[in-house]
Symmetry: C2
Subunit: 455 residues, 2 copies
């Protein structure tokens, strides 16, 4: 069974390392010549930018399912899928809000700060934008089974789209290392869910072996269709900003597919004259899962040393990121920066985003924590416009939030910081820790008055 | 852009029982004459339906925050808030998807079944549509503190909008009786969260006393601004259906504010000739929290006997629903029906909705379970068009999902059904219970092959 090919379009596959241009991808989406990743490119493509923008805007008033999707609305910039109307699997993904973050802006020392909240997708993470596209491709190719290894968000998304498209799905997740919410999603959508006694990177290895032996479609982000779908977040963002790019876009760095996708979209949009200049795309990793940060800082991007990852931001707990070379190219092409942040910095940044009325999962909050460091280093200037990409909803990991606000998050876990630093970071939030009271008016009024005095 | 706006507001308040029309509401939003609930009405309002529909559709292409909200986009049908641009607190709520449910349709025996998924709102429940409107009203009135009693969804929503509007929020929740996810949200958004040793109805009582003594704005659904905002879900639904009403709309029944709001919108839309006929609005309760069902079935709606509520569908675990008279009026005006469903029926229906690729919280699933009964009774005909209102996202209550798919949900809880019925309801899902495996290819292939044979 061969992966659907873009016969009718200009889209072609190319290996990012050796430049080979195969007619179709193998089951593991690796270059058969050198083993590196494939990507789509679009030789000779051109559009009238003004007409294209008008077409996309006009589709917002359409009742057609493809037009209502924030991914398929931009289908002119995606590879063609034959018989799309029959095979498209959509949950009306995309269409995510762009929020101003006034308090976070003050905390970070910038004047113009927005968050593009990809956690407002149907399964509550950015994965849906790539999944709608790749799952549709699997459907078009006639697969009965799809599969992924996941830290939780990919599996939730894949399970939903597979169910929607009448396909079966197999999920490989590291046992005990994904959040409860994410596990519940893959069960809810009917996936066959295997918790393996290994880490994320171990799950990836087994899955790669599996797809070579079984007719199972691989939906990890090495699948270049995933990257294409995820490009649309950046296109939608530019439309929301009236095609006036910000100075900086800041993205969490885990497996690095998302950075790659957003960067690819920026480069394509500039080439197509949809935007006139490039934002700098910067990538932030958790200190405990920082192989890309170390690759860039220590080796100038010449190599990446896999590591055993450890961070409470489970969505980016990845030690051997598949798309690191794609992300490196984006970083270099846009003049972006890498940064790493501590567990305490992540938790405090998440609470600050929450105080602006926006809930996100811990991995998303590395963007704000990283912005603070990029301000301190002078890489981001106070007057520059900054957009953070939030990748998951707060409900993806309620345990983290409850433990933090109860002062329990770091209780049984050493963090990169002294006990005093930990306490200081949590102190302002513990004033609002949940309290259990008897059901009487006096007790509630006392709690209210105390909080009012402290506010 | 002015469409004959009731400029300085034609909207007036009216008591639903004694008909008094106060100029303003008291702190507890109760009629000062008889103590019953207030509602907004709009004397002398009229619009050109075609122009209004065109205006609303056109706003979908706007970059203005109010136009991007699925609530404020329909502001012509809402009471006027002075200096709205300054006071509106919006998280781009509404704009929720309408999904076809093909498998659920087959299971229920209808041909044309959709779900309007209000769990796709920013805080992941339908509460956001009412909250944006009522919180903006609080802001316009100059309150520093807002408060609610909640089974969890209202508090999550209120905390987010309060934070967004720079107000403080007080949450009263029953200790140990709301889901973990919902508790985490009120903490994340910085609310003062008091877990009281009582049930939801006990929290309501204390809050009513509190707002009479303290300058705290009450954001429970007795607040008629909440109901007005929630009306927009029905307006948006009709727009999605090209203003062609379905035969049936089915809503979960808890505190009954949502049924009231959707029904009010339907009645107003017909009066304004935006739609030409009324769908029947039916209300489904959990058997363990069925005071409205009993009111209608046993007393013909003449009275409602409060009860101690008990159901795993925590969002509708309410024994003394505030808006029951409003809901009764809607039921009667649209010719709808009431129904009750068991815990097993709820869990099975939730899993069936999940298998269609749509995740919802348990309370939302009463709609599908209820539809099955309404089909069996003949109230819903096979060829009639049905829309289920899903009220919360699956991530609101991951514990329920995980326990169900592990076969543990009813282990320590007696349910309305024999052990055999419970087992039968769960059996088809337990084939896909999560499994823990060693990290080797053979084990995964064995699990895949077994699932494939059973599928």
């Amino acid at each position: 069974m061969s992966i659907a090919q873009n016969t009718e379009t200009a889209a072609k596959l190319r290996c990012i390392a050796c430049g080979a241009t195969p007619d179709s991808a193998s089951q593991d989406f690796r270059c058969t010549a050198c083993g590196d990743l494939l990507e789509f490119f679009f030789p000779g493509r051109s559009f009238d930018p003004t007409s294209l923008k008008a077409l996309w805007l006009n589709r917002r008033t359409s009742r057609h399912a493809l037009d209502q999707s924030g991914v398929w609305r931009f289908r002119e910039l995606l590879p063609h899928i034959p018989n799309l109307e029959e095979h498209a699997i959509t949950l009306r993904e995309g269409n995510t809000p762009l929020y101003r973050l006034p308090r976070c802006a003050r905390a970070a020392g910038v004047e113009n700060l927005h968050a593009k909240h990809q956690g407002m997708n149907p399964t509550a993470s950015f994965k849906d934008t790539g999944m709608t596209f790749a799952a549709s491709s699997a459907h078009q190719s006639g697969f009965r089974w799809v599969a992924c290894a996941s830290t939780g968000n990919t599996s939730a998304s894949m399970a939903a789209y597979a169910a929607r498209g009448n396909m079966h799905s197999l999920v490989l997740i590291p046992e005990g290392k994904i959040s409860w919410g994410k596990l519940s999603q893959s069960l809810d959508y009917g996936a066959l869910t295997c918790q393996l006694r290994t880490d994320f990177d171990g799950c990836v290895q087994i899955l790669n072996d599996l797809v070579r032996q079984k007719p199972v479609y691989l939906l990890n982000s090495v699948n270049p269709y995933r990257i294409e779908g995820q490009k649309t977040a950046a296109i939608e963002l530019m439309e929301q900003l009236a095609w006036e790019p910000p100075d900086h876009i800041i993205v969490p760095g885990g497996n690095l597919g998302n950075s790659s996708a957003i960067g690819k979209a920026l480069l394509e949009m500039r080439e197509l004259k949809l935007i006139s200049r490039l934002p700098r795309l910067s990538i932030i990793q958790a200190h405990g899962a920082n192989p890309f940060y170390r690759s860039v800082r220590e080796f100038g991007g010449r190599k990446l040393e896999p590591m055993t990852a450890d961070t409470l931001a489970t969505a980016i707990r990845i030690g051997n990121p598949a798309s690191w070379k794609k992300a490196l190219r984006v970083l270099q092409a846009t003049g972006g920066e890498v940064e790493e942040v501590s567990e305490i910095e992540i938790a405090a940044a998440k609470a600050e985003i929450g105080a602006d009325g926006i809930g996100c999962e811990p991995a998303s909050a590395v963007t704000l924590a990283g912005l603070k460091k990029l301000r301190q280093s002078g890489f981001v200037k106070p007057g520059e416009a900054v957009v953070l990409i939030l990748t998951g909803h707060a409900l993806k990991d309620p345990d983290f939030t409850i433990k933090f606000h109860r002062g329990e998050l770091f209780a049984d876990k050493p963090v990169a910081g002294t006990p005093e630093e930990t306490e200081a970071a949590q102190a302002k939030y513990l004033q609002r820790a949940p309290v259990v009271l008897d059901a009487n008016l006096g007790a509630v009024i006392a709690a209210l008055d105390a909080a009012d005095r402290n506010s």
